[in-house]
Symmetry: C2
Subunit: 207 residues, 2 copies
Amino acid sequence: MDIKNDLSMEQTILEVAEKLFLEKGFTSTSTTEIARVAGCNQALVHYYFRTKDNLFNTIFEKKFRMLFEHLYASQNFGNISFSEKVRHAVESHFDLLTNNPKLPLLVATELSRLPENLKNLRNKLQAVPFELFTRLNNELQQEIDEGRARKIELIDIIITMVTLNAGLFMLLPIANGILQLDEEHTKELLAHRRNENVQVILNYIKP
Amino acid sequence: MDIKNDLSMEQTILEVAEKLFLEKGFTSTSTTEIARVAGCNQALVHYYFRTKDNLFNTIFEKKFRMLFEHLYASQNFGNISFSEKVRHAVESHFDLLTNNPKLPLLVATELSRLPENLKNLRNKLQAVPFELFTRLNNELQQEIDEGRARKIELIDIIITMVTLNAGLFMLLPIANGILQLDEEHTKELLAHRRNENVQVILNYIKP
DNA sequence: GTTATATTTAATAGCTCTATTAATTGGCTA
DNA sequence: TAGCCAATTAATAGAGCTATTAAATATAAC
């Protein structure tokens, strides 16, 4: 049905699998369906990746790593004010999710249901760069000392940002269904909420 | 293994099914396992509920309805200030999720993957009580007019509250895994975030 | 105590899924 | 062209799942 050409079949399988896992989760996606959509025999999926678990973990690890490393990477900016850094972090995180709207739900689902996977992932991730965390913490402390922020913990800012942004994308299909939004209005809603989420965080920090 | 007595077997099956569906989702839960945990023959599950879909929908509809009706019900308070009403709504929503921590993820997962279910649910729900929405909107307008709130839409307050609270519970297992929290520290985190989420919303509204 | 009714079980048909194995095809090289 | 290796397929074992059917057991009614 969905045969792709001019890509190696191994790559095609990976891409099809990623799409299907994101749409339907691990359990509801079968190697049989992956093969059907990729346009190859089902045994080929196992030839390249041996097990369904292997295939899934290959994809999942890459995506999970991306989410995390993005959080660090989005903070490599020098000479702007703290609140501009916060704005940039929120927007950058939001944009990442806009490009990967189904990822938060997949991550939440698969890690809730198989917490032991989280242990493996945790070991494979580079540790949270304490240097970065410390630096941001110092900047925040300075903001507080100079009266530009209320007394607040950095971790709470991060948790608020992540739950707010990821929560929106995880609940978006429901909001769409209830509010009966078409694609155009969904885009508008997202553009609007991007600004609102920035506002929520900035007001949260404001003294 | 988990045989329960002194309840009708039909009720036991319902309770076991609810627990398993919440833990593992629809697809990963089998009627075979439900029967095993309930301590009865697998055919009995189908005797009472005919299909797995039926059983799931019975449970899911009840839970979904609860989530919605709670949102309305938590707003039947007369003589307190608007910001106290907001605080109460956020805390009450948070507490509901504390008692049903796995529900948001189940709802998000199953409705994302089967959007047609959402249509059925939508019809079965009582329509959003416009009277309530209008009344709150009027109160908010008055707050804005009198300078106690900045110019803001009611729907944005609601979206912020729901994504913030539900997002936290959906991501909690991940936070637990990453931060290595035991049960005690998880409780502390939740108690803390309950206050923070109130603060986030109140600051979001503040002029 | 017998009969009707509700509850529960055993057995099984019919699927679909994962994973493996052996055979087939196709391209490249010597 | 023969031979090697990678890519691909056909076939299938073995398992689990849903749903149904018929039989067995318990419960209540008369």
